[in-house]
Symmetry: C2
Subunit: 202 residues, 2 copies
């Protein structure tokens, strides 16, 4: 008979209630890239304001229609899971909604990942596996690094490496607005939770 | 009043029952690096045999004692989640066991991630954020690529970039045994689920 010591816990990814509320209205269409980015940036801002995580928001949209498939916010500290960056959260929920690990499947419309800040090395690596066909970014790596966030080991050619895989990339959409949320967070004394490892850097 | 259309589903990471059973015996210590890799490789083999996912296993161990903290297997297809690579699963469960997003926290012993195959770009990016201090790999990137798995955009210096962050790396531990599971899987007609994107590569 197994003891409880032998049982490994489940891990559950659950959006904060305010995200559900803020993202509600399933009929709403986000027609322009700025509409979509404004939504992701607002998620990043509200995530800080509601005390549910770091200053990062993301969402998966149907590329052509602008329909929201899944929102995501950074839930690392509150969930106790270093994997729960905004992009990962949006991707995981989007795949759960559709019931497939591949958002690029033949029978599906094209999906777009919109991120309030350029993805870190993990989220960048996750992007091709997700099946999204387009990536839209707001604040730049240097905006995140400027306030102390570590983006990980990315090559200077990271956007090109996605394009080589058939994923188009659009950068600096509403960059100032997105970077402003990062600065507000840092100035407000927000926890730069990934920085301990960064301190080891030369 | 919100309709059900407005509610986003939870995502639950749950180990297959056989992993619980195979990993039971909380007192068992995996003293050598080969003991630990044998465990990860056996997870990869059993994952295929039990039909629960791709040929990849991983685990987080206490570095000094050899105590198992959390096992992981690839659950991409069965869970419908492209994030659920073996390393990500082991990291997420390990953090859930300890109740922290940082396995490298000051009050904790050093933890080691053991992976039956060198991590893909996503898992590589996730490694520093997890807080593990050591990474041990079995089969090499080229072994995975040889049977059709796409490891993503990794630089040739990926191990060095981890070492620069204070994470030591040990490669090719029981490589032949680990690579053998990859070959068996491919020869058995197993789904190379990440390869669609890879086909777009030049």
């Amino acid at each position: 008979m197994e003891t409880t010591d032998d049982v490994f816990p489940e891990v559950t990814l659950r959006l904060p209630a305010w995200v559900e509320e803020f993202s509600s209205g399933g009929d709403r269409l986000y027609r322009t890239v700025e509409d979509r980015m404004r939504f992701a940036v607002e998620l990043s801002r509200l995530n800080v304001r509601n005390g549910t995580g770091g200053p990062f928001g993301a969402a998966v949209f149907e590329r052509d229609s602008g329909r929201l498939l899944a929102p995501g916010v950074n839930l690392v500290v509150g969930s106790g899971c270093s994997v729960f960056h905004a992009e990962m959260v949006a991707i995981m929920i989007a795949q759960r909604v559709l019931g497939t690990f591949d958002l690029g499947g033949d029978s599906l419309p094209a999906y777009e990942l919109v991120a309030s800040t350029e993805p870190c090395a993990m989220c960048l690596g996750a992007t091709p596996w997700s099946g999204v066909r387009h990536l839209v970014c707001g604040a730049c790596d240097e905006d995140a690094r400027a306030v102390g966030f570590d983006e990980g080991a990315k090559t200077a050619e990271w956007a090109g490496s996605l394009r080589d895989r058939g994923i188009s990339v659009e950068l600096s959409v509403l960059r100032e607005e997105a970077a402003g949320v990062l600065r507000e967070y840092a100035e407000g004394g927000g926890e730069i939770y990934n920085s301990r490892q960064g301190e080891d850097l030369p």
